[in-house]
Symmetry: C2
Subunit: 147 residues, 2 copies
């Protein structure tokens, strides 16, 4: 039950970009350095975000990445869904509870627990935007977000 480095690094990268001029293209090298993440590994993560239309890219000299949308419209959920794949807490829910082909489905008493957990996680992460994080919008100076 862990978020992998892919999702965590992607989030940090997007937050960092949200702190830059929205027009400016930032090179992966610089992000990797300031975030202390392997640039080569980031190269592998970033295409997930460009394909998901979260990042705009510029190749060649002085190229780099910038946010493709306003950071207030990009939710954590969207980022993690792109990088972590399906965020369902159990595989039985991966294609929606309706398309569950488990033979025990109808009698499974625990399935509603997982479905509710899925919902709780999704709603929490949908409620936090990249901008929220970049501006430390929980504000209180506390250690967590209360939405």
């Amino acid at each position: 039950m862990k978020i992998s480095t892919k999702g965590r690094y992607a989030l940090r990268l997007l937050v960092e970009l949200a702190c830059h001029d929205p027009e400016e293209y930032v090179a992966l090298k610089d992000i990797a350095e300031s975030q202390n993440i392997s640039k080569k590994y980031l190269e592998q993560i970033v295409p997930l975000l460009t394909r998901g239309r979260l990042l705009a890219t510029n190749r060649g000299y002085q190229g780099g990445y910038r946010l493709a949308r306003d950071p207030s419209t990009i939710s954590c959920w969207e980022v993690l869904h792109l990088t972590e794949g399906d965020m369902a807490p159990v595989s039985c829910l991966e294609n929606g509870i309706e398309n569950n082909d488990c033979p025990r489905r109808s009698e499974c008493l625990t399935l509603p627990v997982w479905n509710g957990l899925y919902k709780v996680i999704r709603e929490y992460l949908e409620g936090i935007s990249i901008e929220d994080i970049a501006t430390n919008a929980n504000g209180t100076g506390g250690d967590d977000y209360i939405i």
Copy 2:
């Protein structure tokens, strides 16, 4: 970001026991059969629950397991914590946010996101007991728990 079979099987086992006479010892063989889970694999999971004082056990002829506590006092959180280990969504939080020794800790903008996620997950799972599941306490006939 998945609950493994250990946690899922453990939950199903406890729910099944909650449906039996609380005094009766049920053999693992029977649980494995009715739940369609490898008995040998369950043998590996069950000690986690006995050590956690959720199960009482009886060895030898006509032995088996029964719940050590009233199912209304056993929460999903407790079960998953015992079987899945620390349920923190990122390793940075595994020993509590205070004992995080990451050098980036103080400047890490994403940490509060994970801490809040941790909280949301914990509170949801703490709110559901084994008895709730066994009696299908969400009641509505819906697909998830709303606590």
